[in-house]
Protein backbone atom coordinates (compact mmCIF):
# COMPACT_ATOMS: atom_id res chain seq x y z
CA UNK A 1 0.00 0.00 0.00
CA UNK A 2 1.39 3.38 -0.97
CA UNK A 3 1.15 6.47 1.22
CA UNK A 4 0.69 10.04 0.13
CA UNK A 5 3.40 12.21 1.64
CA UNK A 6 2.39 15.60 2.96
CA UNK A 7 4.45 18.26 4.71
CA UNK A 8 3.60 19.89 7.99
CA UNK A 9 2.59 23.53 7.77
CA UNK A 10 3.93 26.11 7.70
CA UNK A 11 7.67 25.43 8.07
CA UNK A 12 8.08 22.01 6.46
CA UNK A 13 5.92 22.97 3.51
CA UNK A 14 7.93 26.14 2.98
CA UNK A 15 11.20 24.24 3.29
CA UNK A 16 10.04 21.59 0.81
CA UNK A 17 8.93 24.24 -1.69
CA UNK A 18 12.22 26.06 -1.32
CA UNK A 19 14.55 23.08 -1.77
CA UNK A 20 12.50 21.31 -4.44
CA UNK A 21 12.23 24.49 -6.52
CA UNK A 22 15.90 25.27 -6.15
CA UNK A 23 16.76 21.67 -7.00
CA UNK A 24 14.80 21.90 -10.25
CA UNK A 25 16.67 25.01 -11.33
CA UNK A 26 20.00 23.64 -10.15
CA UNK A 27 20.54 26.24 -7.46
CA UNK A 28 21.23 23.91 -4.54
CA UNK A 29 24.65 24.04 -2.94
CA UNK A 30 26.77 20.90 -2.82
CA UNK A 31 25.75 19.97 0.73
CA UNK A 32 22.12 20.90 0.16
CA UNK A 33 22.03 18.71 -2.93
CA UNK A 34 23.50 15.80 -0.99
CA UNK A 35 20.92 16.29 1.75
CA UNK A 36 18.05 16.63 -0.74
CA UNK A 37 19.06 13.43 -2.55
CA UNK A 38 19.06 11.49 0.73
CA UNK A 39 15.77 13.04 1.78
CA UNK A 40 14.05 12.20 -1.52
CA UNK A 41 15.27 8.62 -1.29
CA UNK A 42 13.98 8.35 2.28
CA UNK A 43 10.63 9.91 1.33
CA UNK A 44 10.37 7.39 -1.49
CA UNK A 45 10.84 4.53 0.97
CA UNK A 46 8.43 6.17 3.38
CA UNK A 47 5.70 6.41 0.77
CA UNK A 48 6.14 2.75 -0.18
CA UNK A 49 6.72 1.23 3.23
CA UNK A 50 7.19 3.33 6.38
CA UNK A 51 8.80 0.30 8.04
CA UNK A 52 11.43 -0.07 5.33
CA UNK A 53 14.70 -1.34 6.81
CA UNK A 54 16.74 1.58 5.49
CA UNK A 55 14.59 4.09 7.37
CA UNK A 56 14.99 2.50 10.79
CA UNK A 57 11.58 3.94 11.64
CA UNK A 58 10.60 3.85 15.27
CA UNK A 59 8.15 5.61 17.51
CA UNK A 60 9.49 8.31 19.81
CA UNK A 61 7.58 7.74 23.03
CA UNK A 62 8.45 11.11 24.55
CA UNK A 63 7.09 12.96 21.52
CA UNK A 64 4.02 10.74 21.35
CA UNK A 65 3.31 11.58 24.99
CA UNK A 66 3.98 15.28 24.40
CA UNK A 67 1.68 15.64 21.38
CA UNK A 68 -0.90 12.94 22.05
CA UNK A 69 -0.44 11.40 18.59
CA UNK A 70 2.03 8.74 17.51
CA UNK A 71 5.24 10.41 16.30
CA UNK A 72 7.79 8.36 14.41
CA UNK A 73 11.38 9.03 13.51
CA UNK A 74 13.15 7.80 10.38
CA UNK A 75 16.77 8.13 9.38
CA UNK A 76 17.79 9.73 6.11
CA UNK A 77 20.82 7.50 5.96
CA UNK A 78 20.83 3.87 7.01
CA UNK A 79 21.69 3.61 10.72
CA UNK A 80 23.27 7.06 10.79
CA UNK A 81 21.24 9.37 13.04
CA UNK A 82 23.74 12.20 12.63
CA UNK A 83 23.21 12.24 8.85
CA UNK A 84 19.67 13.51 9.35
CA UNK A 85 16.32 12.39 10.69
CA UNK A 86 12.73 13.19 9.91
CA UNK A 87 9.75 13.09 12.21
CA UNK A 88 6.41 12.04 10.86
CA UNK A 89 2.99 10.78 11.74
CA UNK A 90 0.06 9.17 9.99
CA UNK A 91 -2.71 11.48 8.80
CA UNK A 92 -4.54 13.76 8.33
CA UNK A 93 -6.41 11.30 6.05
CA UNK A 94 -6.15 7.55 5.65
CA UNK A 95 -3.06 6.51 3.70
CA UNK A 96 -1.47 9.89 4.41
CA UNK A 97 1.86 10.51 6.09
CA UNK A 98 2.75 14.00 7.23
CA UNK A 99 6.39 14.93 7.70
CA UNK A 100 6.37 17.17 10.76
CA UNK A 101 10.00 18.15 11.04
CA UNK A 102 13.57 17.34 10.16
CA UNK A 103 16.77 17.30 12.14
CA UNK A 104 19.13 19.03 11.77
CA UNK A 105 16.90 22.06 11.32
CA UNK A 106 17.72 23.78 8.00
CA UNK A 107 19.07 26.79 9.90
CA UNK A 108 21.14 24.64 12.23
CA UNK A 109 23.27 23.14 9.50
CA UNK A 110 26.57 24.76 10.25
CA UNK A 111 29.66 23.85 8.35
CA UNK A 112 33.18 23.55 9.64
CA UNK A 113 35.17 21.88 12.33
CA UNK A 114 32.41 21.81 14.89
CA UNK A 115 29.94 20.12 12.55
CA UNK A 116 30.54 16.70 14.02
CA UNK A 117 30.37 17.94 17.59
CA UNK A 118 26.95 18.90 18.88
CA UNK A 119 27.37 21.49 21.58
CA UNK A 120 24.94 23.08 23.95
CA UNK A 121 25.08 25.66 26.68
CA UNK A 122 26.24 24.35 30.04
CA UNK A 123 23.54 23.60 32.59
CA UNK A 124 23.25 26.77 34.70
CA UNK A 125 24.38 25.06 37.91
CA UNK A 126 27.77 24.12 36.50
CA UNK A 127 28.53 27.51 34.99
CA UNK A 128 28.73 29.29 38.31
CA UNK A 129 32.33 30.07 39.13
CA UNK A 130 33.96 28.76 42.24
CA UNK A 131 34.10 31.06 45.24
CA UNK A 132 37.32 32.99 45.49
CA UNK A 133 39.60 31.72 48.20
CA UNK A 134 40.34 34.31 50.83
CA UNK A 135 43.96 34.74 51.77
Amino acid sequence: MGFKIRMGVPEMEAFWKDVSTRNQVGELGKDEEKFFKKWIKALGYLSQNPRHNSLGSHEIDDLTRKYGIKIFQSYLENDTPAAGRMFWTYGPDRADITVLGIEPHPEDQKRGAYERVKLAAMPSTTVEPEKRKRK
Partner: protein
Protein backbone atom coordinates in the same frame (compact mmCIF):
# COMPACT_ATOMS: atom_id res chain seq x y z
CA UNK B 1 37.36 53.22 47.34
CA UNK B 2 33.98 51.90 48.45
CA UNK B 3 33.66 48.15 48.59
CA UNK B 4 31.41 46.66 45.95
CA UNK B 5 29.38 43.54 46.47
CA UNK B 6 29.08 41.15 43.59
CA UNK B 7 25.80 39.40 43.02
CA UNK B 8 26.01 35.62 43.22
CA UNK B 9 24.98 35.16 39.58
CA UNK B 10 27.64 37.50 38.26
CA UNK B 11 30.92 35.86 37.37
CA UNK B 12 34.03 36.92 39.24
CA UNK B 13 37.64 36.83 38.14
CA UNK B 14 39.28 33.72 39.56
CA UNK B 15 42.42 33.77 37.45
CA UNK B 16 44.22 36.64 35.76
CA UNK B 17 47.26 35.99 33.59
CA UNK B 18 49.01 36.87 30.35
CA UNK B 19 49.67 34.35 27.62
CA UNK B 20 51.59 34.43 24.37
CA UNK B 21 50.30 32.71 21.27
CA UNK B 22 52.70 30.09 19.86
CA UNK B 23 53.93 29.88 16.28
CA UNK B 24 50.55 28.54 15.18
CA UNK B 25 48.75 31.34 17.05
CA UNK B 26 47.42 28.97 19.72
CA UNK B 27 47.09 29.80 23.37
CA UNK B 28 46.65 27.51 26.35
CA UNK B 29 43.90 27.87 28.92
CA UNK B 30 45.12 27.13 32.41
CA UNK B 31 42.95 24.78 34.46
CA UNK B 32 40.10 24.86 31.98
CA UNK B 33 37.04 23.34 33.61
CA UNK B 34 35.43 22.10 30.41
CA UNK B 35 36.63 20.52 27.20
CA UNK B 36 34.41 22.38 24.72
CA UNK B 37 33.93 26.10 24.27
CA UNK B 38 31.98 28.38 22.02
CA UNK B 39 34.33 31.13 20.89
CA UNK B 40 33.33 34.63 19.93
CA UNK B 41 35.96 36.86 18.35
CA UNK B 42 35.05 40.50 18.90
CA UNK B 43 35.96 43.39 16.65
CA UNK B 44 38.08 44.95 19.40
CA UNK B 45 40.42 41.93 19.50
CA UNK B 46 38.79 40.30 22.52
CA UNK B 47 37.73 36.67 22.60
CA UNK B 48 34.83 35.38 24.64
CA UNK B 49 34.80 31.67 25.51
CA UNK B 50 31.57 30.09 26.74
CA UNK B 51 31.63 26.54 28.12
CA UNK B 52 29.64 23.97 26.18
CA UNK B 53 28.71 20.33 26.73
CA UNK B 54 28.27 17.52 24.25
CA UNK B 55 24.71 16.67 23.34
CA UNK B 56 23.69 13.12 22.43
CA UNK B 57 23.07 12.94 18.65
CA UNK B 58 19.47 11.77 19.07
CA UNK B 59 18.44 14.91 20.93
CA UNK B 60 16.19 17.25 18.99
CA UNK B 61 17.26 20.84 18.63
CA UNK B 62 15.04 23.62 19.95
CA UNK B 63 14.36 24.84 16.41
CA UNK B 64 13.28 21.42 15.17
CA UNK B 65 11.07 20.97 18.22
CA UNK B 66 9.42 24.32 17.51
CA UNK B 67 8.89 23.20 13.93
CA UNK B 68 7.24 20.02 15.22
CA UNK B 69 5.04 22.01 17.62
CA UNK B 70 3.64 24.08 14.76
CA UNK B 71 3.23 21.12 12.40
CA UNK B 72 1.40 19.04 15.01
CA UNK B 73 -0.84 21.94 16.07
CA UNK B 74 -1.87 22.49 12.45
CA UNK B 75 -2.23 18.78 11.74
CA UNK B 76 -4.65 18.48 14.64
CA UNK B 77 -6.72 21.14 12.89
CA UNK B 78 -6.53 19.00 9.73
CA UNK B 79 -3.98 21.27 8.09
CA UNK B 80 -1.11 19.84 6.07
CA UNK B 81 0.37 20.55 2.68
CA UNK B 82 -1.11 18.95 -0.45
CA UNK B 83 0.49 15.57 -1.26
CA UNK B 84 3.93 16.07 -2.75
CA UNK B 85 4.89 14.55 -6.09
CA UNK B 86 8.00 12.48 -5.56
CA UNK B 87 7.92 10.77 -8.95
CA UNK B 88 9.80 13.52 -10.77
CA UNK B 89 12.59 13.52 -8.19
CA UNK B 90 12.86 9.75 -7.80
CA UNK B 91 13.21 9.25 -11.55
CA UNK B 92 16.02 11.79 -11.80
Amino acid sequence: MPATTLKKANPIVIEDYDVAADAKKRINLRNAKTKYFHVKALSNGCYVLEPRVLVPPHVISARSLKMLDKSVANLKKGLASPPIDLAAFLEA
